[in-house]
């Protein structure tokens, strides 16, 4: 966190990116009512990247289908430009591939738009705290992705047995606390395992992007 921000206040600064004005304003209003400071809104990917660079929010609440532009690309650019900024995907999209791509490209959580305001509030707070916001659905996507990487050539990350176990229980809808009880682990350890499964995948994705860039003679380092 920047020193200037810590000085100001402890209020979490949020930006809302969605191409649908009614939804965008509704979410912004709800978050403001819950005590967040909404520092910006954007309707498409390029505006989101530009505004995020200017206002440096703590959390970006990001839709994935921004008209003709993609929230996945915006997520990658925002996180690359400001690693302190965290992206929470809030999407009506049931396109499993889009969600997985967004998370691989740096989003730290995913919530469906049908989630309640209480769930959204909780998710934004946890995202700001640096936790990964995992729905059961996202855990299933990650398990699937690690399974796919197992068959990929060397260098791909894998899960430890414990991580697989934790992720599997998340995919069945168990809370971190319930998982901790069942596996006799501390709550924090469970959270760390979940974080690790996400970080390994994001790191691998960055390495892959870099390798791709070098192989294809693109000099600009995306990481």
């Amino acid at each position: 966190m920047g020193a200037d921000r810590a000085e100001g206040s402890t209020v979490t600064r949020v930006m809302v990116v969605d191409d649908h004005p009614m939804w965008r304003e509704s979410v912004a209003r709800d978050l403001a009512a819950r005590g967040y400071e909404v520092v910006g809104t954007a309707a498409d990917a390029s505006a989101a990247v530009r505004i995020a660079a200017a206002v440096r929010p703590d959390v970006v609440v990001m839709d994935l289908q921004l008209g003709t532009t993609s929230g996945v690309a915006a997520t990658r650019e925002i996180v690359a430009a400001a690693p302190d900024t965290r992206v929470l995907v809030l999407s009506a999209s049931a396109e499993q591939g889009d969600v997985l791509d967004a998370v691989k490209n740096g989003a730290s959580g995913y919530l469906v738009k049908s989630a309640s305001l209480a769930e959204l509030d909780d998710a934004v707070r946890r995202t700001a705290d640096g936790d990964a916001v995992f729905s059961a659905g996202l855990a299933g996507l990650l398990l699937g992705e690690y399974r796919r990487l197992q068959d990929a050539p060397d260098g791909a990350p894998g899960l430890t047995e414990r991580e697989t176990e934790v992720l599997r229980l998340v995919s069945r809808g168990l809370s971190a606390r319930q998982i901790a009880t069942r596996l006799t682990l501390s709550h924090r350890t469970v959270e760390n395992h979940v974080q690790n499964t996400l970080r390994k995948l994001q790191l691998h994705n960055r390495v892959e992007l870099t390798r791709y860039a070098i192989e294809h003679g693109i000099t600009d380092d995306p990481a």
């Binding site: 049931a94 049908s114 069945r172």
Partner: protein, 376 residues
């Protein structure tokens, strides 16, 4: 027809053009023939008047056959009647005696115009009627049935019927093409609709759900309804179980089960397995979910998860209901009241798989099905 789709070209148009060009040309032939046989006409005044009227009628039908509205009207029928009248009217300038010989009839080739118009407008039957009527009138006017008349009649019938067949075939081809284009348009329309549903309806349903929950009371009921429709719509738009060579996607099949209280967790890519195995797993999951609805209460949430383990799949159905106390499970087993459990176990065991039931008071119920991908 949906807006924006391509309009099928009317392949009949070239045939109509032929009809349109034929008539003035035939009229010119009639005028030329009249001039060449000038001496044979006793009363030039009436003949010239008739030729002028024929020219006027030619202009009328030419204009009519050149427009879509004219082609759709019964113009060819009127054309036939008027032309018959002209042929009959030649008797005013050419007496029976004249026509009975070898004299060319004033209307000459021009009289065959309605045969072609009728054939193009009404197909084979139109061509046939046109040919019979025109030939009949010509024979009646000439009052004789020689080689020439038989030859002409044969020619009329042949031309009318052939052109009629061609028109019918062309009309069918146009209809088939139009249908194909409409189907293509409908697909594009569905995709466009799907996008706009995503952008509009889904968002509004999500807003109704959020606001309804906050307001509480009767609004909360609306919220629940909106949430259910939101999930149903989303599934409709995105779930397309892909099937290929007797294989189908287990993930997509299970995702169809998602509701506002059931969350489904699967890999992003297709999880292809034998179609029958997928159906059996789907049925077992369905039974477990029905059991949740019956015993865990309406407020209970449920999770369905499918994981690919390489040669096997791991499918679980979990709820956060009150669970089954240990004693009751044993009691149920003793009295044979474990219908659902036995049914699920039976299905999965038949597939060479295993079933584990994990339950305790206050911890919900969790089914874990492990099924080999290969059929036993």
């Amino acid at each position: 027809m949906p807006a924006g789709s391509a309009v099928a070209p009317d392949f009949l148009l070239p045939l109509w053009r032929a009809v349109v060009v034929f008539r003035p040309a035939a009229w010119a032939v009639a005028v030329g023939s009249f001039v060449r046989s000038w001496d044979r006409y006793p009363d030039h005044g009436i003949a010239i008047l008739l030729l002028i009227l024929m020219g006027a009628w030619t202009a009328v039908v030419t204009v009519a056959y050149s427009t879509p509205a004219g082609r759709r009207s019964r113009m060819a029928g009127y054309d036939l009647l008027v032309t018959v009248a002209f042929v009959a009217a030649t008797l005013l300038t050419q007496p029976w005696a004249e026509l009975n010989g070898s004299a060319p009839i004033l209307t000459s080739l021009w009289a065959t115009g309605p045969i072609f118009a009728l054939a193009v407008e009404r197909g084979r039957d139109g061509g046939l009627i046109g040919a019979v009527v025109i030939s009949g009138v010509l024979i009646a006017v000439r009052q004789r049935l020689g080689d020439q008349e038989v030859f002409n009649t044969t020619l009329h019938l042949l031309a009318g019927v052939t052109l009629g067949y061609a028109a019918t075939t062309t009309r069918r081809a146009t209809a088939v093409l139009r249908e194909a284009l409409a189907a293509e348009g409908a697909t594009a329309e569905r995709e466009r609709l799907s996008r706009s549903i995503h952008d509009g309806v889904l968002q509004v349903l999500a807003i109704v759900r959020r606001r309804g929950t906050e307001l509480g009371g009767p609004a909360a009921e609306l919220s629940t309804l909106a949430a259910e429709q939101e999930v149903a719509l989303r599934n409709l738009m995105t779930s397309r179980p892909t099937s290929a060579g007797g294989q189908t996607d287990l993930g997509a099949t299970l995702r169809l089960r998602a509701t506002s209280t059931i969350e489904v967790s699967t890999p992003a890519g297709p999880l292809m397995m034998d179609r029958r195995t997928v159906e059996d797993i789907g049925a077992a999951v369905g039974e477990a979910l029905t059991n949740v609805a019956e015993h865990a209460g309406p407020a209970a949430r449920a999770w369905v998860a499918a994981e690919d383990l390489g040669d096997r799949v791991l499918v679980s159905v979990r709820d956060d209901g009150p669970g089954i106390p240990a004693g009751r499970l044993a009691a149920a087993r003793a009295t044979g009241h474990l219908g659902v459990a036995q049914s699920i176990r039976g299905r999965i065991t038949d597939l060479g798989g295993t079933v584990e039931l994990r339950t305790a008071l206050g911890e919900g119920t969790e089914w874990e099905l492990t099924v080999p991908k290969a059929r036993p």
